[in-house]
Symmetry: D2
Subunit: 424 residues, 4 copies
Amino acid sequence: PALSPATAARTRVAHCTVKTDSRRQELMPPISDAILDTSCILLWLKEQGYDIIAYLANIGQKEDFEEARKNSLKFGAKKVFIEDVSREFVEEFIWLAIQSSALYEDRYLLGTYLTRPCITCKQMEITQWKGAKYVSHSTTGKGNNQVRFELICYSLVPQVKVIAPWKTPEFYNQLKGYNNLMEYAKQHGIPIPSPWSMDENLMHISYQAGIPENPKNQAPPGLYTKTQDPAKAPNTPDILQIEFKKGVPVKVTNVKDGTIHQTSLELFMYLNEVAGKQDVGHIDIVENCFIEMKSRGIQQAPAGTILYHAHLDTKAFTMDREVRKIKQGLSLKFAELVYTGFWHSPECEFVRHCIAKSQEQVEGKVQVSVLEVQVYILGQESPLSLYNEEPVSMNVQDDYESVDATGILRLKEYHHLQSKITAR
Amino acid sequence: PALSPATAARTRVAHCTVKTDSRRQELMPPISDAILDTSCILLWLKEQGYDIIAYLANIGQKEDFEEARKNSLKFGAKKVFIEDVSREFVEEFIWLAIQSSALYEDRYLLGTYLTRPCITCKQMEITQWKGAKYVSHSTTGKGNNQVRFELICYSLVPQVKVIAPWKTPEFYNQLKGYNNLMEYAKQHGIPIPSPWSMDENLMHISYQAGIPENPKNQAPPGLYTKTQDPAKAPNTPDILQIEFKKGVPVKVTNVKDGTIHQTSLELFMYLNEVAGKQDVGHIDIVENCFIEMKSRGIQQAPAGTILYHAHLDTKAFTMDREVRKIKQGLSLKFAELVYTGFWHSPECEFVRHCIAKSQEQVEGKVQVSVLEVQVYILGQESPLSLYNEEPVSMNVQDDYESVDATGILRLKEYHHLQSKITAR
Amino acid sequence: PALSPATAARTRVAHCTVKTDSRRQELMPPISDAILDTSCILLWLKEQGYDIIAYLANIGQKEDFEEARKNSLKFGAKKVFIEDVSREFVEEFIWLAIQSSALYEDRYLLGTYLTRPCITCKQMEITQWKGAKYVSHSTTGKGNNQVRFELICYSLVPQVKVIAPWKTPEFYNQLKGYNNLMEYAKQHGIPIPSPWSMDENLMHISYQAGIPENPKNQAPPGLYTKTQDPAKAPNTPDILQIEFKKGVPVKVTNVKDGTIHQTSLELFMYLNEVAGKQDVGHIDIVENCFIEMKSRGIQQAPAGTILYHAHLDTKAFTMDREVRKIKQGLSLKFAELVYTGFWHSPECEFVRHCIAKSQEQVEGKVQVSVLEVQVYILGQESPLSLYNEEPVSMNVQDDYESVDATGILRLKEYHHLQSKITAR
Amino acid sequence: PALSPATAARTRVAHCTVKTDSRRQELMPPISDAILDTSCILLWLKEQGYDIIAYLANIGQKEDFEEARKNSLKFGAKKVFIEDVSREFVEEFIWLAIQSSALYEDRYLLGTYLTRPCITCKQMEITQWKGAKYVSHSTTGKGNNQVRFELICYSLVPQVKVIAPWKTPEFYNQLKGYNNLMEYAKQHGIPIPSPWSMDENLMHISYQAGIPENPKNQAPPGLYTKTQDPAKAPNTPDILQIEFKKGVPVKVTNVKDGTIHQTSLELFMYLNEVAGKQDVGHIDIVENCFIEMKSRGIQQAPAGTILYHAHLDTKAFTMDREVRKIKQGLSLKFAELVYTGFWHSPECEFVRHCIAKSQEQVEGKVQVSVLEVQVYILGQESPLSLYNEEPVSMNVQDDYESVDATGILRLKEYHHLQSKITAR
């Protein structure tokens, strides 16, 4: 390890510590909790002589931010930044995930991993602005998150030094094991949280380790917080009309009560509310990990799941099938890059550009029925649709010839549509 | 067109006609029905002077086969073959689809397209056995199915001639249009069926054209036949344990009542029964077509949907993540080849071999809860799991070093597992 | 076939006929020659009652254009357009092929297939300008070119009708066979050309059929026209410095004599001259075909081969390796699309956009030695190089840690370079 | 770092040291030489208290093995293993590279990287046989090779500990810098070698660092050792007939003098001799590296280059074009895996299986002319050829219809060929 905090501490330094649920998922169960371990790290860094700037991102998690601010100051931070990055998260990260229809290993909407670059970007902004020489994170040497976090830090501020207490023997030898950590927490008045690791943000909530960790176990009934227990879901569907432009939702209308949401953050939060009530977007999977082996986790992504399906349908309705195949390959790559922490890499920038390009004509209104864990597509319309009623309809016997098998008909329709678009 | 039936008819020929729901999906709404149009074709071919061998595949559809046999003979077939290909369909076609996790355009389990090579193989066997020089099909010049069907015919029996009445002016000029066809049917005592195109087999049922054709319309309430209306689904989940070997289900146990099914066809039918009751596997999508443009269809695939999810989880639990990525690319190709009718091509044989190879260690038992349109994974266990409790667990702070980021840990686990497998 | 020329001819129509070496490659050996068969077609179309506008593209082939004009008028064309599309061909088609490093089946620089959309675009412009209702081409029903040509025609002018005499029984029944065609030619004073099919343009020359057709045969010694017989190549190398901007050559300097060429067409022709003298770019391959099976052809692409190598080196020097891998997949797709005639398709437009995007930083000067069939790279420099002398150099033992295996170093270098570029 | 050699040395251990040109390419220029740095490491490890088993692979490099044995013993090895792995290298590694047509970044035949798993496998065999607890290598912390080497060691013998002196501060602080190393070498009588890094094996020779390191520089004239200076190449071509079975060469016949070679190692060495004389297979490239950035190297791979071209042609002649496209994607992956050191990974095992499967019908005889840096294909024949003279030939106007564009003709030919093969 490049840096021994003990020696580094001799020079007076500003230090950004990271404090948010979203980046300490692999930590020390069964008492893994952001507040606990981040607080311990904060205290420990202070003991090593660092000047600490605490940073906490509000990325949509349910959290008492003022309590967190007070605790940070109490435990020794010189300064505390609590930054609301929710809107950036939706517009710059979630929207691209929706456009790409990215799934990790066929099932997982990447809810945790999309937050990494969003949270860290803001942290590195503060790091540069405040001239901090070190940044710290609370992930362990075992997990994926250390790599994701450090890749981003070094990409954005190459000269920074990362301090990772859980990879530092002086720290982990002192605090490892349940009793040691509890002891340390008690001594310093740090509250003891829930018995499993939880990661929440606007896009999703996940639970890992502790009880759900063994894949033979079923999830405990009280675990769900972002979606409702399916047994308690209402019996009537919600009917929503979602309008897309360039592959991104721009308007959500509740068909029954006429409610309309048109800005990114608001419509996303509204979809979370509607879909959460119906337990939409709940999955329980074994996930392949980046560095280590497999891990089991329960994931809930209500709004993301509705948009995933609604976008698929709009795409099928408006995107050429061959463009779609090429884009599908790029989306697999995108999912992998997000998962492994390479958002700020040249390849990810390239892939994001290409995916966005593929969405230019993904435009339309789709009606969905949201009822008890399921999203049904009810109907579709689009001014840019490749769905040309005449040719597909089975009602007309016309002069199609077998030569159409080569694709001539598809190209004719495409160029016909292009000329209509140009004419607009 | 290669063949003018009028002249061909002068030589006495044996003729196989195709008669099954599963291959005439694009036909002539609003009166599209297999029995109707196949009957018309049979009669018309007889009028052209052909000797007709009728063929009907039993591939799991609900149909009165004896009625069909009687009608075929009544309308002029010299001989009728009604062949039950259900078991071949499950073992040689559906199992590979499950192993590959193939989805067409992210959503569609390929239920219709998997039947094509299965049905046609048997037909071509009869064609060769009976020395028929011609085969006929009832698809039109507009749709995908003509290409799928003809590709397979010519692949398997290169010297055969295909007669496609709906591409033959003498036929379609006489029968096109609702009134003409109705008239012709009435004259010959052919019954008039339901107003939309329906395609049923063991794997799925789909509805196309007629009312559901316009994507702005919602499906009519009475449309569901393979799954139950969600409003009527029971309130208690069924808990099933599904055991996989080499990526294929070999045993299904109902955990509550202890029912066990262990042969391919029986366990698949049992899953259809359980999942259908809960309305699992219902989708309503706009599909990209091969030759023409987009079309809208409602699809139901109850057993296939359960197995898709259960297999995904077993795969995640036992398959190396990098092998999976490569296999994922092959599966996209496989889905495309099935969709476009290239099952019997060299590339599809190659891809099927590779996918089967990738499944050698996909083995384990997965518990699923089937409740109201949703499949939940409850738990997983496998003797071949890459899920090694120690390394993933967050409970242990051990000597993982950052060098593991290169993949050394993954390879260690893999070779460790291999040595255990070899030792068995 | 949609159109019977005999009946179409009853209405007075303007007709564009195609007349260029570049699109009639599969024709009638052993007397396959553009002038011969195009002349026959022209005469035959006139006999069917069409008004004919002849069109000949100058795309860099050696041809007596005035002689061609005279012959066209003599054989009955109402009007003759001879259009020089060389510059468009280099800038809009060849440059993209260079940027993509596209090879068909690992070896073939796509010289013939790049011309198809270029030639046909101009023809369709004339077709629209002159209000012609029909276009004609001289490819047969057997080859790839019919599909390539017709795909483009229908893409660009959907309502046009294509007349393909070699797919029209009235034509080919009259003229098929050596004697018939010779007879017809003699009767109408059409000259008899060389005994094999040859396709020449700025990018390459290919020979097919006739003697070289059997893959067991070796090419006859006198066959080379674009490159020199290697036995006669000079003994001293030419040293060229080629400068790239955005992946495209913008300047070629002959290091020995100081000659400089800076415009696209001129520098490409100069490279053809230098490389042709040294027999660079000569290949003799079995090519997989689109519709039919394999065919053997000899290909020469002097300038293209130099640029292929020089661009590869500049790319390796300036393009991130992960971007390159993604782009490589897109290039395989691009090569396939060019080969199969889908230049004007939505997927090709998308792929071309993405490839061009990947080239934004491919900039630098590369020195190459051109000597006797081989291009050697001598050296490389670039302001946008990712080749950072310090990190790669083996001279320095520095503080690289094993964590670099995760890719942190690569990202640091990339963002460092980006900041330098932004600063420019 | 896991292991401090100083403490480890307290227990008496057997130690395998690695001593071969092929794995120390990034080392300490300008005095980088295997003998030098391996000798220094050997001496240094002995000083740390290890018992040393020296290992040197004979993988086709020109080297005085007896001199190496003497030196190893002189510098303190307890035992020396000099293992000839040439035949395994050809049959188990090079042949697969030929089958896959693998190029790294479009140009590089992977000559260096193919040796890694071959050399290390044998080393790990000895390690296990002798019960050694440590293995050592002489690559630095900066380069790609450390990862490649360590991945393989840990894959094959998970419990082994790797000692990497160039990543160990105690070692590199003492020996870094030209003067220190020279001093240490002189003190111990270690000979001083050539001024650049050279890596030789049967497949290729490469030069890196020192003079050729700066990409602006041209290679010094005396650098070539595996191929002849092109200026001195003979003026007459060698004509070889190469016979392939399952994508692998099984017989090489010199057409002029009748010489025949039929075993893998002998025919490969013979091709090296013939091609080397003509300077075939010489490239000079900037290579993207795995961990660090770009590096420049000169590569020569005479036999590999001939086989690459001959195999491409046999493949084009006998392999279906769509199988080829899928296999091409797998080959890109294979090249990446070889390059990054993942030969012994599950994904590489899977990819190798699939590639070998694709080669089952790649069989035939190809004649090549080898003259002055160029391989010309002269002709091809194969009993398994898809080149069916009738359909491709332009001499026959037959009944091909446009429907062939769908691929029916291709499938007919394939199944026709399959039935012929089955009949054999």
